[in-house]
């Protein structure tokens, strides 16, 4: 307890000063807590404050991460594409929609060996659909699958005239295909 009676001297009369000294002797009771409790409470509060700080920091970082993922630049989208050259189909169709002749020059597919992929099958299938099973007898050159390493413009070869195997009633490719299948053994 600090020393009592060390009051700042004031211009008071004797009675007032005496009464002041008398009243000062009344001592307030000691509080129900001590310095140790205050020290412990202060430490606990400090720890809570630090914990709160780190929680806020972690929350802020998490929010920034979510925002960066949400608002950041979009990842480049890779769409698998395959550059193919269009087939030039020369079709001569007469007035009654009977297919007379087809010339299907096939251009090389970039960099890949002919016959190594499904295109060979598709080319062959297409020829069969157009020309019948006789197309199976032609050489690979005649099928039109050029060497994959060739960069030259494929030469359009005139195909031999074949009898139309597709009737006007089955002009669709699927119908013609099934028509061919049905007539296959007869051919």
């Amino acid at each position: 307890m600090q020393d009592r009676g060390r009051l700042e001297p004031l211009p008071l009369n004797d009675e007032e000063r005496e009464f002041e000294q008398m009243v000062t002797r009344l001592a307030p009771p000691a509080p129900g807590f001590n310095a140790g409790e205050i020290w412990m409470n202060a430490l606990a509060r400090r720890q809570r404050r630090q914990l709160g700080f780190w929680r806020i920091a972690a929350g802020g970082l998490a929010a920034c991460l979510v925002a960066a993922l949400w608002l950041g630049p979009a990842q480049p989208t890779f769409v698998p594409v395959r550059v193919v050259r269009s087939l030039t189909v020369a079709a001569h169709v007469n007035d009654d929609l009977t297919v007379k002749d087809f010339a299907v020059p096939l251009r090389p597919l970039g960099g890949r060996g002919a016959g190594d992929d499904d295109d060979s099958y598709m080319n062959l299938r297409q020829r069969v659909m157009l020309r019948g099973l006789s197309a199976l007898n032609v050489s690979p050159q005649r099928i039109g699958v050029a060497a994959s390493v060739s960069t030259q413009e494929p030469r359009i070869e005139p195909l031999p005239r074949v009898e139309p195997v597709v009737t006007p009633a089955a002009a669709g490719p699927i119908d013609r295909f099934f028509n061919l299948l049905q007539k296959g053994p007869a051919l």
Partner: protein, 164 residues
Amino acid sequence: MIDRATLSKLFADHAAPLVLYARQWLDRGLAEDVVQEAYIRLMGQRKLPANPRAWLYCTVRNGAISQFRAQSRRLRREQATAPNETWFEAEAGQWIDGMAARSAMLDLPESQREIIALRLWGQLTLNEIAEVTGSSTSGVFDQYRAGLNALRKAMGVTCKTEDG
């Protein structure tokens, strides 16, 4: 953070007068809570205030007034009429009755009571009291003198003299 030795010294010097000061507005339990909170806040300061005594009294004053305003009217009435609460220790051979002093203090206007508590038991200077209460030094002196005389008159019948 302030070291423990400084805290111990500040506690020993000012804790009891601070509780007495806070009891101008609050009952004992709440007054101790306010004082404890003030010390904890002092410990949270990066460096010791220039005048820690005035800082403590100012903080306790703000906390006590805030608590007082937060209390309901019923609690204030109960607190004001609590008969058995003592403000001072009963010491043998004491010339002044503590209960009479408390009663006389409660009859004083709040501004005078506060200034008397700050000077007589807090032992603050007039400048420090003016800083805590937000008044001028001369106004503080006038209030103090008026309050001291009113207290002396109120306690005149209960004052004991050395002669008996």
